[in-house]
């Protein structure tokens, strides 16, 4: 994962956006907990530069049309 986070850093994406969690299919409550925790973290980090660039491109294309 360190390697992948390093690669994300080279393209300007916060490596905190990627995380691996280890759990089994029987750990339902833990899965829900992880989903909530990670979602909150991502919401706090805000939109990624890729999403922002895509939105900008979409707006420019719509404006041209």
């Amino acid at each position: 994962m360190k390697r992948l986070q390093g690669l994300l850093r080279t393209v300007g994406i916060d490596p905190e956006r990627l995380h691996f969690y280890n759990l089994s299919a029987a750990m339902g409550p833990r899965w829900a907990e992880i989903c909530n925790e990670f979602s909150e973290k991502i919401i706090k980090l805000g939109p990624s530069p890729i999403w922002l660039a895509r939105q900008k491109k979409k707006a420019t294309t719509e404006h041209d049309e």
């Binding site: 690669l7 080279t10 393209v11 890729i50 660039a53 895509r54 491109k57």
Partner: protein, 220 residues
Amino acid sequence: MIVGEQKPLEEIWEMVKRHKQLTVFGCNTCVAVCHQGGNKEAGILASLLRMKAVQEEVDIDIVDSGIERQCEHEFFDSVRDLMSRSEAVLSLACGIGVQFVATKYETMPVYPALNTTFLGDVIAVGHFTEKCQACGDCVLGLTGGVCPVSRCCKRLSNGPCGGSSNGKCEISKEIDCAWQLIVDRLEALGRLDDYEKIPPLKDWSKDRAGGPRSFKLEGI
């Protein structure tokens, strides 16, 4: 095998961003072993370049693919169509593969994604060291399997220099003295008398120093 290291992403991006279409092309033999240029690495690199393109608002269509080896014609049969549709190729092969692609597709720009570094082996997972310099006049039979051309910093042919200390080279404490390794190996083989033998003069004309080399099999 041939070992290479991927160039920094910025350097690669500067080379290729002028194109409207790019094929990121992996080689699944030597450079895949060192996790730098295989077909998987081509996929990863293509992904990173697409992310860069989106962020920098550069309009470029990036495709990734690869073959077993980029140094033989036969392996290119399966990608004939892809090559005919490509505007430019970013080759993750060693320098040999990059040149082979460039020669094979004369009018297509080919860029190297790797810096080819040395011929070496895998001493541990992820750890590669130089073991051969392709000198063309192999003395490994006399030196107990340790190469003084590639592993001695001075390429000495007749024993260690005065800088050999505690089995290490004077250049760096991390480099083993090749001649110490040779003596140790010959001792283990019970052939220390080979160390006393004066080898014939090395024919350096067979080395790269004698010009680019080629080899042609007769009767094929």
